[in-house]
Amino acid sequence: MTDADLIVLDQVNKRYGDLHVLRNVSLRVRRGEVVVIIGPSGAGKSTLCRAINRLETIDSGTITVDGTPLPEEGRALARLRAEVGMVFQSFNLFAHKTVLDNVVLGQVHVLGKPRAAAEATARALLERVGIGAQAAKFPAQLSGGQQQRVAIARALAMEPKVILFDEPTSALDPEMVNEVLDVMTSLAREGMTMVVVTHEMGFARRAADRVVFMADGEIVEQAGPETFFGSPSSQRAQSFLDKILIH
């Protein structure tokens, strides 16, 4: 491993009973790199993404984040999670807190920032993702696209080393997908390290440094977006792309 590697997965395996959801998965993500994971449903993409901050445990193999192997439950794990942002498919904004408080909470209760400073940061981040005017509302009063942008702001507020996106646009109405992807694209341009599980091929082409194709719990191939979308080397990737790109 070199200093440039921020996340290293080595021979990771996970089973749900008879189902082998991750098979010998090895993956390196460099600092500042945007890795987009694509593949058919049930390929293990989300499980892989969630395993990186231990929302899913693994059966064997190792996962290292910035040189530290993933700790077991407890304080050390919480500390690591504070450095790894997560954006969920279903947003998961805290339903009983205002938009502003959603972004403030982690800064105050995890990072120990004074509330005034945390609010200033939160307002700036909400402004950046284009929802500064909604700060006082509750999540349920926002559209899906707006909620997901708050979720991104909430992750950014922790100044994470990397942000994991677990199908961030899959629960959105079509007209709201782009507002979220635009925020993600600008993050990618600014050099944020990102691991993105998505079905948005346009985003993968535009923003990915590397595309990782998974099927049946394995990484089948990985390449830069031009190479991958232009001439995938595996039969499975080829047939997957044929199914989704021809309309």
């Binding site: 929302l55 439950e73 500390r79 504070a82 998961n92 904004l93 805290f94 009983h96 982690g106 922790m158």
Partner: protein, 222 residues
């Protein structure tokens, strides 16, 4: 009727005792019940087991037995003295018994409330780096409370009426005063019954309205 008017000061004093028993035990059972609910979802098996045993025992024991146990067992036999004044000592013993009993019901209401909070809420909290206790205290329990305001109200109303059993540890609350009055004013039994029943309705009705209003006001929209 004249008995109720004639004795209104002693009646009010007795109801004041009912109110105090209710208030102290409500507070105590909310605190203990929350703690038990937290234990029941804790990642440690021993904590979960302990809370489980407690709830099972407290919930399945008649309140009369619980209060006799606190009065005779803990108070008289083990000699726990909370005050040199006998009446005050009995009051606190009754509060302990009522709290211990009611907390089991509060715990179960809260636990069902926790089940209404989507898993994603806790996952998002843990992803931010919040530990088990903070996730519970800041994210899941506040939402669970809001979901079970109405059933908590029913538990508190039941508690109010359950305070009448404090008579077994010698606390002179409303029902004790009622018995004494029935003995003194044997010709006005019906009026006395109705008067005291009305007193309890006056205590419980606003509680029901309050909790109903709170549950609508505090509901979390998703």
């Amino acid at each position: 009727m004249e008995a109720l008017l004639f004795e209104r000061d002693t009646i009010l004093a007795a109801f004041w005792m009912t109110v105090r028993l209710t208030a102290v035990s409500a507070l105590g059972s909310l605190v203990l019940g929350t703690l038990l609910a937290a234990m029941r979802v804790a990642p440690l098996t021993t904590l979960r087991g302990a809370a489980n045993v407690y709830v099972t025992v407290a919930r399945n024991t008649p309140l009369t037995l619980v209060l006799l146990f606190t009065g005779l067992g803990i108070g008289a036999n083990l000699g726990l003295t909370l005050s040199d004044d006998l009446a005050t000592n009995n009051f606190w013993l009754a509060c302990i018994g009522l709290t211990a009993y009611t907390a089991a019901f509060v715990c179960e209401a809260l636990r069902s409330g926790l089940n209404t909070v989507p898993v994603g809420q806790a996952e998002a909290a843990r992803s931010l780096g919040l530990g088990f206790v903070k996730t519970l205290a800041l994210i899941t329990l506040p939402q669970a409370f809001r979901a079970v305001v109405a059933p908590l109200g029913s538990i508190m109303i039941a508690l109010t009426k359950n305070t009448t059993i404090a008579l077994v540890v010698g606390v002179s609350e409303a029902s004790v005063r009622m018995r004494e009055m029935i003995e003194t004013y044997g010709d006005q039994v019906i009026e006395i019954f109705l008067g005291f029943a009305a007193g309890f309705v006056l205590l419980c009705l606003p509680m029901g309205l309050l909790f109903g209003w709170l549950s609508r006001r505090m509901a979390v929209s998703r």
